[in-house]
């Protein structure tokens, strides 16, 4: 019976991995700026989620994994204080298209923000979490979220390209025209 329960639990978790991975991967990429680092971060976060799977409510599993992901990233930064890790990215064909340029520009801009500001910006403006939810995920106060968001936005705003050299999507470009 125990074995069957374990098997069912693993099957449910495997389904969860397949469903949650794309969303987690996008968040991780915005946080790390590297597809390889994002993949490793997501994998590590899913492993931790598996270890806690028996106490994770299924309807909150994605939020739980995202919380693990963001804080795993935090832990990594904290542990490696003063240390710089060099990601070894797999060779990929260079995509010489404007989408790749925009993508890289935005990630480069995000990378200029201090880590906490970047996390807050990603959670607030990509994951669309409320200030309270962002505070809960990061384990900080709502005031700290507001402050980090404000400073993060100011930093991005100052460096953001003008509309004529926009980062925007084609749809937004169309509306600008």
């Amino acid at each position: 019976m125990g074995r069957e329960g374990k098997s069912e639990r693993d099957a449910a978790f495997a389904t969860f991995v397949e469903q949650a991975t794309p969303s987690l991967m996008r968040t991780a990429w915005l946080l790390t700026g590297s597809t390889e680092a994002a993949r490793e971060l997501v994998q590590a976060s899913l492993v931790k989620t598996y270890a806690a799977w028996h106490r994770v409510r299924r309807d909150e599993a994605v939020a739980y994994a995202r919380r693990v992901l963001v804080n795993h990233n935090t832990d990594t930064w904290r542990r490696q204080r003063g240390e710089r890790l060099v990601a070894d990215l797999p060779e990929r064909p260079h995509r010489d298209d404007s989408g790749a340029d925009h993508r890289d520009d935005l990630v480069r801009l995000l990378a200029t923000l201090p880590a906490q500001q970047r996390r807050v910006v990603v959670l607030r403006y990509y994951s669309d979490l409320s200030e309270q939810a962002t505070a809960d995920v990061l384990g900080i106060s709502v005031g700290a979220v507001k402050s980090a968001a404000s400073r993060g936005l100011a930093g991005l705003r100052a460096a953001y390209p003008s509309p004529s050299t926009e980062l925007s999507s084609p749809a937004t470009e169309g509306s600008i025209r």
Partner: protein
Amino acid sequence: MNDLFEDQLRTDLHTAAGQPAYGSIDPAEVIGEGRRVVRRRHRLQALGAAAAVAVIGVAGFLATDPGRTTTAPPAHRSTTAPMNRALLTLEGAGEARFLAERPAGSDEVRIMDAAGTDRPVLARLRVPDGGRPLAYTALTVRDSLVGVLSGGSQLLQVGTDGVGEETGYRSDLQPLGDDLVAFAVQFDQVGRLETLSRILWADATGMVWDTNTPLLSARFAPAGTSTLPQLLWVDSANGIWGTSDGVGGGVTERPLETWPQNSMGAFEPAGSKHPGRGTFDITGLLPFSEASGLTGTWAPGVTVVSPLQGQPLTSGDRINLTAFHAVVTTDGELPEPLLRSITFTGPDGKQHGHRYPAGSRR
């Protein structure tokens, strides 16, 4: 208040995040790793449970032996052997102070509360084989991990599997006679010890251990302004590697076969002899055993203080790696990677090379 910029940022973040080809995650691989984590946690929890039994046993002993309660400090106990003592202080909020005491040659270390004058015994540790060759012995005392290591050892890192919480901890390590060191660790958050997942320490020879398991490790002599040897270790069971100089360090959860590279260092502050100059230990792994003749090309502005050198890390047929190390200086911040490419002679006698792509994360 939402403004146009915030709306544009939202749109751009979603557009940008949707574009890369991320690759997939294999659920079976995640579940396999997860099972290892659970097994490891259970093993450490079992050790903690055993420690709790030891503490309870001591408490019971205290309760039934009036002569050993608060009126008779153990330090006054008559003994012919000289007593070795180490005072361990965990500063900060909720400061904890422990006194480790061991009669010379004894296989027992008593852990006492050093905060008051009574010094009740909190726990007793058995030191196998008189500490030689010692691995690691520790137990949980008042939400702290207190234990001993062989003489000359240093504590490198204490890791947890905790989720969404601070991982900060305070530690102290002091000599306990000639052949042992005593240590205490307390996490910033109560209860965090339950998620203990790794205790990395290095013995006097530079060999790195995780609790009682020796890890493959390389020790590189200090160079440049550094006075501390650089230790590189590989935990193949958990697919991680890391570096430490005994003061700082980090763990890299990165596939061991993917040419990982790491730089660790600091910039000299204003008012120093060379303000702004950075000195970095460059470490990494090559997916070849017995790589020799290592040469590197470096980012413009890098000055090599100690050239690349390698040490083999091999374990039977399972692990065949070469650890490498160099020390460089920079005048100010430079874009990563500092080591741009590396060439070496492989075990097949052929020349191999690897170019490290631009990009870094901290």
